[in-house]
């Protein structure tokens, strides 16, 4: 601990030991050791490639060589100094998850049959890996836990951020599973009947769905998807254990956390369907049932729509299932409230949301992450139609004031939202304040560029690894926009981001992509990790989407992103950094020992 005096070191380690209920000697011993590079697997060591055809069009996956960090100079406009590697200091190291899309695949309030109407339009309504989302999430949490020490500097992880779309279909159960899995609480991802899968993947009428027991004759069998007997039973009956995140984690709204299928409004009939005892296997019956919800008013149009539905007599496309009140759909504030039903560690209770958020209904927040960084968690969802987002004027003004304050405070600012610059284009009126102006990508980026303290905008939504440079008009500063892939679609990757001070007037943001911890090649294993591995393989064979594209380019994955430091970083002493890292290292010790 070169930066801390002996007295400060002893005081710090004693205080941290007391905070976490750890042995003072053990903490002192650990903190006295120099940082060593994280040795756990990331895509620096190994990647996963799409492999050869196994059957008809169906491909398996293979392990492939790792990818080193590539320096990107788009914002600096010049090469970084050659000495930076020897002198750099870690300022913060964080995990970034997004688009986990936890799914209660047995819920009646799913739109799976709509893919029979048009697979391109409704691709997100049914995926063959729908029952395996909790297994992937647990596998990804394990992966984040595995990289709790930086592969670049050895710095400990400080926090993790989840940029929305944690639930898939606005379900209480899905949101519950999300909080529990990130907290390390075991779950059994089932609903309805105990110990039995009830849903489209065992119904012969659903010819458009993947039937893992025997896909012969369904769309996926035609494509070459394999028979996996026992998959569904294993998926819904086995307990899913999660390592839990080793650091405090923070969440923001995604469109799937606020609208149905991330796109549609929720009519009352759909709420009833969610907790009811019938589930659709025909798209027309389901579509008309949905419409009926909208036609439940007494207007002339509504009555006519109701007549159409009744006369068409298309309610036969449903089967009976076991109802479950736990499947109820979220109201707008329920997503925030779920973040308060959490374990005390890793915390924080509310995960970014505070009592003030609950009291006021405001759905965005800010939080200091260690002594050098301020995080801003936005809600770019409009609670209305359409998958894309926008920033309401009120939130925009709040963020701008916050960025100005961060700059004045000498803190680096990182902005977290669900939507990215390609998708911040929703013009639908804000449900809670229809007259409020909505800010879209160009204006939002221009505002961020006014504040050099803002070094990163971190987001998701498109399920594609993407890193874009945004440079100030005078080229004196800029920020990096970092978008991660998802847990639901191939390649099922997330990432870590580390901010380091190069001590030459520049910072580097190291982005490191993580595959989830399950093996690249599925061996037939139906354990949690086996099912996660199978999910990744199934997702790589999505013929409607473009799975390989979602990997992004090499300039979107493992990168060193250079940017001008917004202030003189000499004001940050080594002692300050080491004290901050001591706190994070001790928290990780507590995690490794099972939290106090």
């Amino acid at each position: 601990m070169a930066g801390l005096s002996r007295r400060a070191f002893l005081a710090t380690s004693a205080a941290l030991a007391g905070t976490w209920g750890l042995s003072r000697e053990a903490v002192a011993r650990t903190l006295a050791r120099p940082l060593s590079l994280g040795e756990a697997g990331s895509t620096l060591q190994q990647t996963i490639a799409i492999g050869p055809v196994q059957s008809r069009n169906y491909r398996t996956l293979l392990s492939a060589p790792g990818e080193p960090h590539i320096a990107r100079t788009d914002i600096l406009g010049v090469e970084g100094s050659s000495t930076r590697q020897q002198v750099r200091r870690s300022l913060v190291y964080i995990g970034h998850l997004s688009d986990i899309h936890l799914m209660d695949a047995q819920s009646p309030a799913r739109l799976e049959p709509m893919i029979a109407q048009n697979h391109d339009t409704w691709g997100g309504a049914f995926r063959p890996q729908d029952t395996l989302t909790t297994h992937v999430a647990a596998s990804m949490v394990q992966s984040i836990a595995d990289v709790r020490f930086s592969p670049v500097t050895g710095a400990p992880l400080s926090a993790a951020f989840v940029t929305g779309d944690t639930a898939d279909m606005l379900s209480h159960l899905e949101t519950r599973w999300y909080v529990d899995l990130l907290d390390g609480v075991p779950i059994t991802p089932n609903s309805g009947a105990v110990g039995i899968y009830e849903g489209v993947q065992v119904w012969g009428e659903a010819y458009w769905a993947y039937h893992p027991e025997d896909p012969t004759g369904d769309w996926f069998g035609e494509y070459g998807f394999p028979a996996v007997p026992g998959m569904l039973q294993a998926a819904v009956t086995q307990q899913v254990d999660s390592a839990g995140l080793p650091v405090p984690w923070y969440g923001v709204y995604g469109n799937h956390d606020t609208t149905f299928l991330g796109t549609l409004g929720v009519p009352p009939a759909l709420k009833a369907l969610a907790v009811g005892d019938r589930k659709a296997f025909e798209w027309l019956a389901l579509g008309l049932d949905y419409v009926q919800g909208w036609s439940a008013d007494t207007s002339a149009f509504g009555r006519l729509a109701h007549e159409l539905i009744t006369n068409l007599g298309l309610h036969s496309g449903f089967k009976s299932v076991t109802s479950d009140p736990a499947r109820k759909l979220l109201e707008q504030q329920d997503f925030m409230k779920a973040h308060f039903q959490t374990t005390p560690n890793p915390g924080p209770v509310g995960h970014g949301f505070t009592q003030e958020n609950l009291d006021t209904g405001r759905t965005y927040w800010s939080a200091d992450i260690g002594p050098f960084v301020r995080a801003f968690g936005l809600d770019t969802c409009n609670q209305v139609a359409g998958p894309d987002g926008a920033v309401p004027q009120e939130q925009f003004d709040w963020l701008e004031a916050g960025l100005a304050q961060a700059q004045a405070d000498g803190r680096l600012a990182m902005v977290f939202s669900h939507h990215n610059s390609a998708t911040l284009e929703n013009g639908a009126a804000l449900a809670t304040n229809p007259g409020q102006r909505l800010i879209h990508a160009d204006e939002f980026i221009a505002m961020l560029l006014k504040y050099p303290a803002c070094i990163a905008w971190v987001n998701g939504h498109t399920h594609i690894n993407t890193i874009l440079a945004h440079r100030a008009p005078d080229a004196s500063s800029g920020f990096w926009e970092i978008t991660t892939a998802s847990c639901i679609d191939f390649p099922q990757q997330q990432q870590t981001i580390e901010v380091v001070d190069n001590r030459d007037g520049t910072l580097s943001l190291f982005t490191t992509v993580l595959d989830h911890a399950a093996p690249a090649e599925w061996s037939g294993d139906l354990s949690t990790m086996g099912l996660a591995s199978l999910s990744r393989q199934l997702s790589a064979n999505d013929w409607v989407e473009f799975p390989a594209m979602r990997l992004g380019s090499s300039m979107d994955r493992n990168c060193e992103l250079l940017v001008q430091a917004p202030f003189d970083t000499n004001r940050i002493t080594d002692a300050m950094i080491e004290a901050a890292q001591a706190a994070d290292r001790t928290r990780i010790m507590a995690y490794e020992q099972g939290w106090p």
Partner: protein
């Protein structure tokens, strides 16, 4: 990035129920083609050993797309695509064509797809 026409009865019912906003809600997530173009262009440049100071950034241009960047030694990188389906692109460095072909083929190859 395609959107189908809903079958007539459902479309009629949707319209009659006054939920045009719900139909428009089926619009896909923005940005797929332009994102694919950018990825493929970078893949091509990487494969050809072109070191990039400014990685190509892409914009919509009429029906198609255009991207521009620079090499480490200051040469311009230009990428154009007519936006047709299937998506094609032409990549030039300092005015010389270094690639002319399919976006999808480039991306599939970069994912190390083995035939």
């Amino acid at each position: 990035m395609r959107r189908s026409v809903l079958a007539a009865p459902l479309l009629a019912a949707l319209a009659l129920a006054g939920c045009a906003s719900q139909i428009s809600a089926l619009a896909p997530v923005s940005g797929g083609d332009i994102t694919a173009l950018r990825i493929a262009a970078i893949d091509v440049l990487e494969q050809q050993g072109v070191e990039m100071m400014l990685v190509p950034a892409c914009v919509t241009e009429g029906e198609g797309y255009a991207c521009s960047g620079t090499t480490f030694d200051g040469k311009p990188i230009e990428v154009t695509s007519p936006g047709t389906d299937p998506l094609g692109m032409t990549v030039t460095v300092d005015g010389a064509v270094v690639f002319d072909g399919s976006v999808k083929d480039v991306i599939d190859k970069a994912a190390q797809v083995t035939e």
